[in-house]
Symmetry: C2
C-alpha cells in the first residue's frame, strides 16, 4: 500500500469550499484504485489566520509542511482583510521560493461540452511552463524620496540557471507532445532581462534539434492566445509572463475556475505544491457556486507528479466526460452547484 | 489656413506600405475640410537605415524631429536585420523618452461589421491609458558573472509624478465617458512597484468622487479582457501592462491591424507621436495585404490631438462605415487589398 501524506491549505475565499470537494474526489480515487492511500493534514494558514496571529503562518510553518509528500493548496489572499503583498509573500510565494518550487506547470485546453469563449471555436491544447522562483517576483528594491517626488525601484533578477532549467523542462515536455516551444519574450522593451532570456533560449534550442521553436513578444503572444491558441504547444515564460498567460489560457478555456497548476520542486529536497490557477474570489465565496474543477484537475496533477500517471489520466477523463455531459457551474453557463459537479465526478469514478 | 507640419517615419516592414495610405487619407481630409493643410517630411529612420549607417537615426535626428508639430510613425523593428532592443531603444523608445511622451492613449472598440473574436459578441468600447516613460521600460541594470552563473538585473523605476499623471489623465477621460477607471495592478506579486502603484491610485481616486474605480491584477485583467470587455471603460496601466493590454484589446477587436495609439507630450516642449499598435510584420510586408486601418485610425488621433476633434470624428465615422460595409483586408477575413480599403475611405471622405 502506497501512502501519500498531503498537507492541505484551503486558504481564503472559495479555497475553503473547493478544497473539501477535491479531497472527496481523491478519497474516492484511493477507494477505487486499491494500493493507494492518502493521509490529509489540514493547515489553517490564511488571511483569517493572519488577523488572529499577525503572521500568515507560524515560525515553524515551513518546517511542518516540509514533512509532507505534497502540499495541496486552495487559494490565498483577500485584500479586504490583508494587503495582497503581505498575504501572498507570507504564504504562497514564500512556499514557492523556500521550497524551491522553481517550475510551475499550467495546462490549458478546451474541454468538450464547454462553450468556447473564442468565436473561432478551435480546439487547443497547450502547456505553459512558468519560471516560478525569480524574475519579476523579487523582494529586492524599495522606495526613496518623499511626497510627490517618491520613487519605487523594483529589481527583476534573472539567473541563467533557473531560466535554462525552465526552458529544458519546456523542451522535454514538447518532445512528448507536438514538438513546438514558444518563448514569451519582450526583448524589444525590457532592456536587460529579456535579451538575456532570448540568448539562453537560443542556446537551449540548439540542444533540441528536433523541436521547433518560436519567440513572441508578450504583447503579441497575449493577442495570439486569442487569435491562434490552436497553434501553441508548450509555452515557456518568465514568472510574470507565465502568470499572465496562464490566466489568459484559463479564460479562453471558458472559465478561470477550471485551470490547474503544479509548483514543482525538482531537487527532491522539499515537497511540490499543487493549486488551481484561480484566486480566492471572495465575491462568490460561501455560496456553493464555485467551480470545483480547478481544484479537482489540480488533484489530477498531484497524482501525476506523485507517480500515478495512469490514475491521473483516468481522473482527467472523468472530469472531461462530466463537463461534456453538461454538469457545469454557473461560470461556465451551467446550472449545477459546486457539490453536484463533484458528486457526478465521484459517481463516475466508482464505475 | 492652419498648417500642420508632420514628420513621417514609415520605419520597417508594413510601416513602409501603410504610411503612404494614411498620408493619402490626410491629404484628402485637408482637401475636403478647407482651412487645414499638411506639410509632410519623410525620415528614413529604420532598420535599413541602421544597416547603412550603424545608428537608427543620426546625431541630430531628435533635433530635426523636434521642429515638427507631430510625428507620424509606421512601425519600427525587424529582428532579422537588427536586434529588437537596439532598433527600438534607438528610435521608437528613444523618441518616447526624449520627447517626454509620457502618456500613451490606446482605444479599443468593436467596429460594426467586424466578426468578433469573442463568442459573447458583446460590443465594447474602452481606452487604455498607458504610462509611457518609465516603469518596466528602463535601461538601468546589467549582467554579472560568467557562463552558467550569469545573472541579469533589470530595474523597474516608478515615480509618483509620472504614475499620478497617467492616473489623472485616466480619470479625466473617464469623466467624459462612462465614469469607470480600472487600474491594472499586480500588487500581490510585484513587491515594491505595484503596492506603490495601488497607493497612488487610491490617492488620485479620492480626488474624483464621481468616478467609479476598481483594481484588478494584470493576470485577472487579461482574462477579463476576454470574458468581460464590455464592462471596461478606461484602463490605466504601467508601461508594460499597458503594452500587453493594448495588444489584447486589438486582438479582441478582431485584428491587431486596426488599433491606433497616441504618444502624448503634455508639457508642450516636444511633438507628440502617433503610431499604430501593431508591429512591422515583416512576414506580410510588401504584399499589399496589410490592414491600413491601424495607421488611418492613428491619423484620426493625430487630428484629434492637434485640435481638430470634429474632423477626427468624421474620419472615424467613415472608417467605421467602410468596415461595416465589408471593405476589409484578409486579417479580418475580408477579400480587399490594402489600397482598396484606403480608396474606399478616401472616396467616402469626398462625399
Ligand atoms: C515595439 C515595442 C518596443 C513597443 C512597446 O513595447 O512599447 C510596441 O509593442 C508598442 O506597444 O508600441
Ligand atoms: C496570487 C498571486 C501572487 C499568484 C501569482 O502571481 O503567482 C497567482 O496569480 C498565481 O498565478 O498563482
Amino acid at each position: 500500500m502506497k501512502t501519500l501524506k498531503i498537507a492541505t491549505i484551503p486558504g481564503d475565499g472559495v479555497g475553503k469550499e473547493i478544497m473539501p470537494e477535491a479531497v472527496r474526489v481523491l478519497e474516492k480515487v484511493a477507494e477505487v484504485h486499491g494500493g493507494l492511500k492518502f493521509e490529509f493534514t489540514e493547515f489553517p494558514y490564511s488571511c483569517d489566520y493572519y488577523l488572529e496571529h499577525g503572521v500568515m503562518m507560524p515560525d515553524d510553518g515551513l518546517d511542518r509542511l516540509s514533512q509532507f509528500d505534497s502540499i495541496f493548496l486552495g487559494a490565498v489572499g483577500d485584500a479586504s482583510k490583508v494587503p495582497d503583498h503581505i498575504s501572498l509573500w507570507g504564504l504562497l510565494l514564500k512556499i514557492r521560493k523556500e521550497f524551491q518550487q522553481e517550475i510551475n506547470i499550467r495546462p490549458a485546453k478546451l474541454f468538450k461540452g464547454i462553450e468556447p469563449k473564442l468565436s473561432n471555436r478551435n480546439p487547443f491544447d497547450m502547456v505553459i511552463v512558468r519560471e516560478n522562483s525569480e524574475g519579476e517576483y523579487s523582494s529586492i528594491g524599495g522606495r526613496i524620496f518623499h511626497d510627490d517626488n517618491e520613487i519605487a525601484i523594483q529589481n527583476n533578477v534573472f539567473s541563467k540557471r533557473a531560466t535554462k532549467q525552465a526552458m529544458n523542462i519546456a523542451f522535454d515536455l514538447a518532445s512528448k507532445r507536438k514538438g513546438l516551444v514558444t518563448s514569451a519574450t519582450k526583448s524589444n522593451g525590457i532592456f536587460h532581462a529579456m535579451p538575456f532570456w532570448d540568448e539562453i533560449f537560443k542556446e537551449v534550442s540548439g540542444q533540441y534539434p528536433d523541436i521547433k521553436t518560436e519567440s513572441k513578444h508578450i504583447d503579441a503572444l497575449a493577442a495570439y492566445f486569442v487569435t491562434h491558441p490552436q497553434d501553441l504547444d508548450v509555452v515557456v515564460a518568465s514568472n510574470l509572463f507565465g502568470d499572465i498567460l496562464s490566466d489568459l489560457g484559463a479564460a479562453i478555456m471558458g472559465s478561470i475556475g477550471i485551470a490547474p497548476s503544479a509548483n514543482l520542486n525538482l531537487n527532491g529536497k522539499y515537497p511540490s505544491m499543487f493549486e488551481p490557477v484561480h484566486g480566492s474570489a471572495p465575491d462568490i465565496a460561501g455560496q456553493g457556486i464555485a467551480n470545483p474543477i480547478g481544484q479537482i484537475w489540480t488533484a489530477k496533477m498531484l497524482l501525476e507528479f506523485n507517480g500515478e500517471e495512469e490514475i491521473a489520466e483516468h481522473l482527467l477523463k472523468v472530469i472531461e466526460d462530466v463537463t461534456a455531459d453538461g454538469y457545469q457551474t454557473g461560470d461556465l453557463g451551467g446550472k449545477y452547484k459546486m457539490t453536484e459537479v463533484t458528486d457526478e465526478i465521484i459517481k463516475r469514478l466508482g464505475k
